[in-house]
């Protein structure tokens, strides 16, 4: 606890000096060093507490209306502390190379505040502290989203403001319901009061799901995410997509501990939401040309996979299958960490590309592997990891979710639950296949082939701190992929706590993971062996160099390479019924055609749903507009009337 407090105060000190000295190089340095120290201590504290499986708490007396500020750490908090501080530290390190000296102070100040606020959210043990942390987290992230003060950032900031505050209202309602039921605002009271009776529990769950799903970016409440994350500077995008959206996952998991053993219907609800997010996210990602926007949609997909894991875990609890529940929660939690690592890495690499080329449009890139070799390799690691392919970390967490779904499908007594759980398997397979296709597209079009523009041809590799940060993230992805059993120890504790399983029962998956790890090592060895054999074979032979085979055409130009849109078109085609695609085509006409065009815009069906909801809200609330007249006197009258009403209400009693 004291270590976490030290991390929090170091972050605060770093933020204070960075803000004080902003605009001067010293400010950037102060914020960077303070933040890095905070992240090192915070991550270390998280590891220590998790390994020791320790629970501790602290209470700071305060004369606020709802009493003291309560803090506490359990395995779930420790695990999220690790996610926050590891990805936070990597983002700060990357930011050191990314931000120009003059602006680094302000950026680091808010990044430190954001990291500290997230840490407060996961160690808060009463509703008020939680909400304070939650709102500071929102404010800091909002300032960072709008950091580059341009049209895109302002529009994104406004959407983010509305979405986030709508979510907070739901969370307030949730805590209100729980406080009313339990008679206190402390989480301990919520948990001690037991599950709310009857339908109230389901209302609480639905409210929590809607409120936290907005932050987590689950479909269809994800609309703000693909706007806000690309608008932010890249180190911040990495932080937002890597960990901040996971606070929604944390909130949901924490709420589940208050509501008692979940009925199967809740698990099914999460499966539906998670499935829609995973499939919708990856399909919309395939249609994007903007590198960062594409990555943001993949966050929707991955949060969907996490939700699928939690859903299976809840089904396991509902059907009294502790091993299923454990594997589901463990998969979801490990994917939370993994996604933080590889999504952070990918956003950082995308930022390096954007900074070096001056464009994030895939159709303007190409051939960057030769010009930015380090960034290219690191991006490839992230791409393989996010596609869930062995031997990297994405495979391990997706495999756990698969395993949980297969177990639940073959074990569950009710046919409906079994069918729902087993359907997760082909769904994940489809999402995985589409994600791999999408990242082949991104990597192939941006980094391979010939540069499509002069700017891409002149690209240079990223600055050293950026490369170091990316390399560390990539190393973590490889390490978790090759030694998953060690990584699983991180999630074993919190998963056992969530599923209500003692740790000893949860072991069978560990033996299988040793096989995964053996397979990963073998895979690397065989690949390297083959490459060595090839080298030996070719040593004394004639090795020629020629242009790429042009299939008989002459004078091919880099513009004639396959584009990202063409690559994605046949993959998206079977799904056109699900997505609203607006296509406009003008074919070549006449004997000497002068032009032809083919435009496609994919509209997010989720956004249409939200827009319809907002319109309904606006319609209901529009009579209130009459209150807004403008004169100050009128508003003073409102204040006076409110005061009077309150007095009349309170005085007689």
């Amino acid at each position: 606890m004291s270590l976490v407090a030290a991390a929090l105060s170091l972050g605060a000190v770093g933020a204070f000096f960075a803000a004080l000295l902003r605009g001067r190089p010293a400010g950037g340095t102060a914020g960077f060093l303070g933040g890095l120290a905070a992240c090192a201590i915070g991550a270390g504290a998280g590891f220590l507490l998790l390994v020791r499986n320790e629970t501790s708490g602290a209470v700071i007396p305060w004369s606020s209306p709802f009493g003291a500020l309560t803090f506490g750490i359990d395995p779930l908090s420790s695990f999220f502390l690790i996610c926050i501080y590891v990805v936070g530290g990597l983002s700060l390190l990357y930011g050191r190379g990314y931000f120009p000296r003059a602006r680094a102070g302000a950026a680091f100040a808010w990044m430190n505040v954001l990291v500290a606020a997230m840490a407060v959210v996961v160690i808060a043990r009463d509703a008020v502290t939680f909400l304070v942390g939650w709102e500071v987290m929102f404010a800091a992230s909002w300032l960072l989203v709008t950091f580059d003060d341009d049209e895109e950032a302002r529009a994104a900031g406004f959407t983010y403001l509305v979405a986030s505050q709508a979510g907070v209202i739901l969370i307030l309602i949730l805590f209100g319901l729980l406080a009313r039921h339990s008679g206190g605002v402390r989480f301990a009271a919520f948990a001690a009061a037991g599950a709310p009776p009857g339908v109230l529990a389901s209302i609480c769950f639905a409210t929590a799901l809607a409120g936290f799903a907005t932050k987590a970016g689950l479909w269809p409440l994800h609309g703000w995410l693909p706007q806000a994350h690309p608008a932010a500077p890249s180190p911040v995008s990495a932080l937002l997509s890597g960990v901040m959206i996971k606070m929604g996952i944390y909130g949901l998991l924490r709420t589940l501990t208050f509501l008692g053993p979940p009925p199967a219907a809740w698990g099914l609800a999460l499966l539906v939401v998670g499935g829609l997010s995973a499939l919708g996210g990856v399909l919309l990602a395939l249609a994007q040309h903007d590198l960062k926007r594409l990555l943001a949609y993949h966050s929707v997909e991955n949060v969907g996979i996490i939700a699928l894991g939690i859903g299976i875990g809840m089904l396991g609890q509902a059907t009294h299958a502790p091993r299923v529940a454990w594997a589901g929660y463990a998969g979801a939690l490990l994917h939370t960490l993994n996604h933080g690592l590889f999504k952070g890495l990918l956003f950082q690499a995308a930022g390096a590309v954007g900074q070096s080329v001056g464009s994030r449009d895939l159709e303007k890139l190409g051939g960057l592997s030769r010009r930015m070799p380090a960034t290219a390799v690191l991006f490839l690691v992230g791409a393989v990891a996010i596609s869930g392919l062995p031997p990297l970390n994405g495979f391990v967490s997706e495999w756990l979710v698969y395993l949980a779904a297969l177990r639940e499908g073959t074990l569950a007594a009710q046919k409906g639950v079994a069918a729902a759980a087993i359907l997760v398997v082909p769904l994940l397979a489809l999402v995985g296949g589409l994600a791999a296709a999408c990242f082949v597209k991104v990597f192939g079009v941006a980094f391979l082939g010939e540069p499509r523009t002069p700017a891409a041809a002149a690209a240079r590799d990223a600055a050293r701190p950026m490369r170091v940060a990316m390399a560390l993230g990539a190393a973590a992805c490889v390490a978790i992929g090759i030694a998953p059993a060690a990584a699983l120890r991180l999630v074993a504790g919190p998963a056992a706590a969530l599923s209500g399983t003692p740790l000893a029962d949860a072991d069978p998956a560990l033996g299988a993971l040793r096989n995964v790890s053996l397979g990963a090592a073998l895979l690397l060895l065989v690949t390297l062996g083959l490459l060595a054999a090839r080298r030996a074979l070719l040593r004394r032979r004639e090795v020629g160099a020629a242009p790429t085979w042009d299939c008989g055409y002459v004078q091919t130009t880099p513009r004639m390479q396959y584009t990202a849109s063409s690559f994605a078109a046949p993959i998206l085609e079977p799904f056109e019924g699900l997505l609203s695609l607006h296509a406009r085509r003008e074919g070549p006409e006449g004997y000497f055609p002068m032009h032809a065009r083919d435009e496609r815009h994919l509209e997010d069906p989720g956004e249409a749903i939200v827009r319809r909801m907002l319109r309904a809200v606006a319609l209901v609330l529009s009579p209130l507009r009459a209150l807004q007249r403008g004169p100050v006197q009128l508003y003073l009258l409102y204040v006076f009337l409110t005061l009077l009403a309150l007095l009349l209400w309170q005085v007689p009693s």
């Binding site: 297969l406 391979l448 082939g449 299988a512 790429t548």
Partner: protein, 304 residues
């Protein structure tokens, strides 16, 4: 059989048999067309000839182009270690290994597609795009069929599933439907007619072959060998599902795989390649078969 001998036989089968399958397919097709056809060992000869050659590389390519074939072969080989070829238990078998099996094939595909895009050729990009589209749609069919089999046997590892398939009369519909879905997946995974014509001569109509246009010499040998190995392991899987009891019997499985290859040759002789838009319908149809298999498995579970 003791474990060491089992692993040795397994490795021998996995490494030596694959090139025989394209030979059988070629022979069956020639026979159907009334020609004599190349000798059965022709693919082996082709491989050795390619291995003895030098190589030409495009000036555009990077290390990804070189890594593509190596990763494809390594991942296919590893996937082959998950099947119970020589004994009832594969060299690597654990709960959930069927996911690793499919994802290893996916890894090989990822790098093959990346290597194709590395050349900057429009044709190879087109091939990669088509391959990505088809394989993404084939993935649910494969997993639906495997999930149906896991459901009928109640086991979660390939060895367990394939060993547990016999003597389950109530599961017959699910197994038959899974065989149909797996057969369709086999045709897609191995780029056979009616999905893709390995013998086509126009770049524009190719899917898999166009991706490897720029590879030559030992690299091409590795690619050919990897695709033969993929054909072998998918055929062996199909044979073990179609004829329960074959799993773990080296000779039976080898014959089974050859019979599957012969059937592929027959299919190739009597069908034409599908138009590209039709391929997607074919794949969705395969997924539908898999879904019905899964439904049958859910409903007959516990009846046997």
């Amino acid at each position: 059989m003791n474990p060491l001998a089992g692993v040795t036989v397994h490795l021998l089968m996995l490494l030596a048999l694959p090139p025989l399958l394209p030979g059988v397919i070629g022979r069956v097709k020639a026979w159907m067309a009334g020609r004599a056809g190349p000798p059965l060992v022709q693919p082996y000869r082709d491989l050795f000839r390619l291995l003895r050659k030098g190589a030409v590389y495009s000036r555009t390519v990077t290390w990804v182009f070189v890594a593509g074939p190596a990763v494809a072969l390594a991942s296919t080989f590893l996937a082959g270690l998950l099947l119970p070829l020589a004994s009832g238990r594969a060299p690597m078998a654990f709960d959930g290994d069927l996911v690793l099996f499919a994802y290893l094939l996916g890894l090989g595909r990822f790098f093959t597609m990346a290597a194709a895009l590395d050349t900057g050729s429009s044709f190879e990009g087109m091939g990669a795009s088509r391959e990505a589209a088809f394989s993404a749609l084939a993935e649910p069919a494969l997993f639906l069929a495997l999930a149906a089999l896991a459901m009928t046997t109640g086991r979660l590892s390939l060895s367990g599933i394939l060993g547990g398939l016999d003597a389950l009369p109530a599961a017959v519909p699910a197994i038959l439907l899974s065989v149909a879905a797996l057969g369709a997946v086999l045709l897609v995974e191995n780029a056979r007619i009616p999905i893709d014509d390995p013998a086509t001569h126009l770049e524009l109509t190719m899917v898999h072959e166009v991706m490897v246009l720029d590879h030559s010499g030992p690299d091409l040998a590795v690619i050919e060998y990897a695709s033969a190995m993929k054909l072998f392991i998918t055929s062996a899987l199909l044979a073990a599902v179609a004829a329960p009891g074959l799993a773990g019997h080296p000779l039976g499985l080898a014959v089974g795989a050859l019979v599957v290859a012969g059937t592929v040759g027959l299919v190739e002789s009597v069908t034409a390649r599908l138009r590209l838009p039709r391929v997607k319908q074919f794949l969705v149809g395969a997924s539908a078969l898999g879904a019905v298999a899964l439904a049958a498995a859910v409903f007959t579970r516990g009846a046997a």
